[in-house]
Symmetry: C2
Subunit: 330 residues, 2 copies
């Protein structure tokens, strides 16, 4: 059933029906007639026909690298909540960290199809940048800071710095690091810089043998820990870029009689749900993922309303959660 059939059924004009669904002027009599007819027929207007004319899709595209990641799922959950309240639906693209899918989704969203885009990015390349600059719809980047764009990000550097410092303050002298892809400015590079700065500020030197780069998985953390402990000299504290990496490293430690925190203090970033049930509870930095999601969604909402061209970068702070894995007397 289309709008004119329905209008006839209701005994009103098509414009009355259109107005009914679009907050236009309408007398109470007509309103009642229409409501009764909806009850009778179950009529629902067509979204696409509406979009053709009005250019409004009520859809927001969300591009993310991996759904089955606790942090990303949390962010996305809150994005959906905020946007849902304003009547927007989420068009989700999971790129599985596939560069090409990221680019092609950006292409897809660049023109029509959605009213706005939220990009949860890992690695941002020049191609990303040039596509982002050409977007026709408001776009928000969550999790990375990118000059000239609207971003909500975390203080990754500070988080890494202070988590590392906490271990060094407790007397650790041979700090080790298992990081993430350095092309990821936030989780990769900034967390590494934070670690390094803390080490240098403590008057220690960076040992390149004590620095590893892992993928975002437990298995990879395990492998890198194995490599870290293969040399003659052993580290006495370890900072990992993510909880998953740390969990993998801890697994290696358990299997190889390395005691935590006695032989090795260990800490990470993420404050995952499982941190406190690990065989030694894991000290970790809590980043405000849910807030990031809400903030990003609200920023997008604001952008979609006005046509302000002022770009903002919002950086969220963090909380250090101390648990057993760093509990050594200095």
């Amino acid at each position: 059933m289309n709008i004119s059939e329905f209008a006839k059924e209701a005994g009103v004009s098509v414009s009355a029906v259109s107005r009914y669904f679009n907050d236009g002027y309408l007398s109470d009599d007509k309103r009642a007639l229409i409501e009764a007819a909806i009850e009778r027929t179950g009529y629902v207007p067509s979204y696409s026909a509406r979009t053709v004319r009005s250019k409004v899709t009520k859809l927001v595209g969300v591009i993310l690298p991996k759904l089955s990641s606790e942090s990303i799922a949390r962010i996305t959950e809150d994005i959906g909540e905020v946007l849902g309240e304003e009547g927007f639906e989420l068009l989700l693209v999971n790129t599985s960290n596939d560069y090409n899918r990221e680019i092609s989704s950006l292409e897809l969203f660049r023109q029509n199809r959605v009213d706005g885009v939220i990009l949860l990015a890992g690695v941002i390349t020049d191609l990303h940048r040039s596509l982002l600059a050409k977007m026709r719809v408001p776009t928000i980047i969550v999790g990375q800071k990118l000059k000239g764009f609207n971003c909500v990000c975390h203080n990754d550097l500070g988080a890494a710095y202070n988590m590392t410092k906490l271990m060094l303050d407790k007397g650790a002298k041979r700090p080790a690091f298992i990081g993430a892809n350095p092309e990821d400015m936030a989780a990769g590079k900034d967390r590494r810089i934070g670690f390094e700065k803390a080490v240098l500020d403590a008057g220690l030197t960076l040992d390149p043998k004590f620095c590893e780069i892992a993928r975002f998985s437990m298995d990879s953390g395990y492998e890198k820990a194995k490599h870290l402990f293969s040399g003659r000299e052993k580290p006495d504290c370890l900072f990992c870029a993510t909880d998953n990496i740390a969990a993998g490293a801890m697994l290696y430690c358990r299997e190889n009689g390395i005691r935590i925190p006695e032989d090795l203090m260990i800490s990470a970033v993420g404050d995952s749900r499982f941190d406190k049930v690990l065989y030694v509870s894991l000290s970790s930095v809590h980043l405000h993922y849910k807030t990031a999601g809400r903030e990003g969604a609200n920023m997008l909402l604001a952008e979609m309303k006005k046509t302000s061209e002022v770009h903002r970068i919002v950086q969220l702070e963090y909380d250090i959660i101390e648990r057993e894995s760093t509990n050594r007397i200095g």
Copy 2:
């Protein structure tokens, strides 16, 4: 730029352009002209205008209760992958276990807007059932079995039965249970029935004091474990409906000097990533979530192609993963 402006720019007719984007008959010359013009102008056809005529949205609605759940994220990830290969995008609705949002999304998807729906359901009520029966687009239910509809589900009963049996075979005599909402037929009811059947088959009796119902969270598992151990008689094995519940229960045990598996064997369902890094690695049943996602997506794809009215229920089997938490000599 719209199709007629573009057609002029390319030097071809409007229909030629339409055919280019829809695998219609087209000579190589025209094809080349169009491709060159796309290169020049960056023209992309409008999805909504296409949809108005063709009734095809290339969108699939996915309704789920909670994104930040490892199992649901895994299922959704694979749904997206399979559907993405066929050019479908995912319209995601996270209901946060809110009954009303579930109903209203079903309403939303019932008519237009999407070409198909996948429902990852927890609790299915009569209202769900009646709405599902009225769906105008193909709909697949994942995670629950519902007669008369297309479903992909797990053998929750068998999983619970055999996981429990494994503990009883090792000599446990006082089995306890922390389950989920019994209105959830799969994770709640079937897992409970499986547990109970295993207990009875072993010649033991069910002690109602040893049966608790938790929410899907660690905290809730912790609380229920506390309650379980508050009585005079203590259980010697515990089966939990989910890994999260079990992790919470383990936390309680650690804090209260209950040794696992010596004093209490414990096991669950889900095979979460964190199971093997818990302070005692957790025996759990692996359900094939990724396969469920793929299977559900393929089923939907099939339904969207033909108009077959044959409903199928696919039940996936499981793997029992033994770890330390049940490693007691019988």
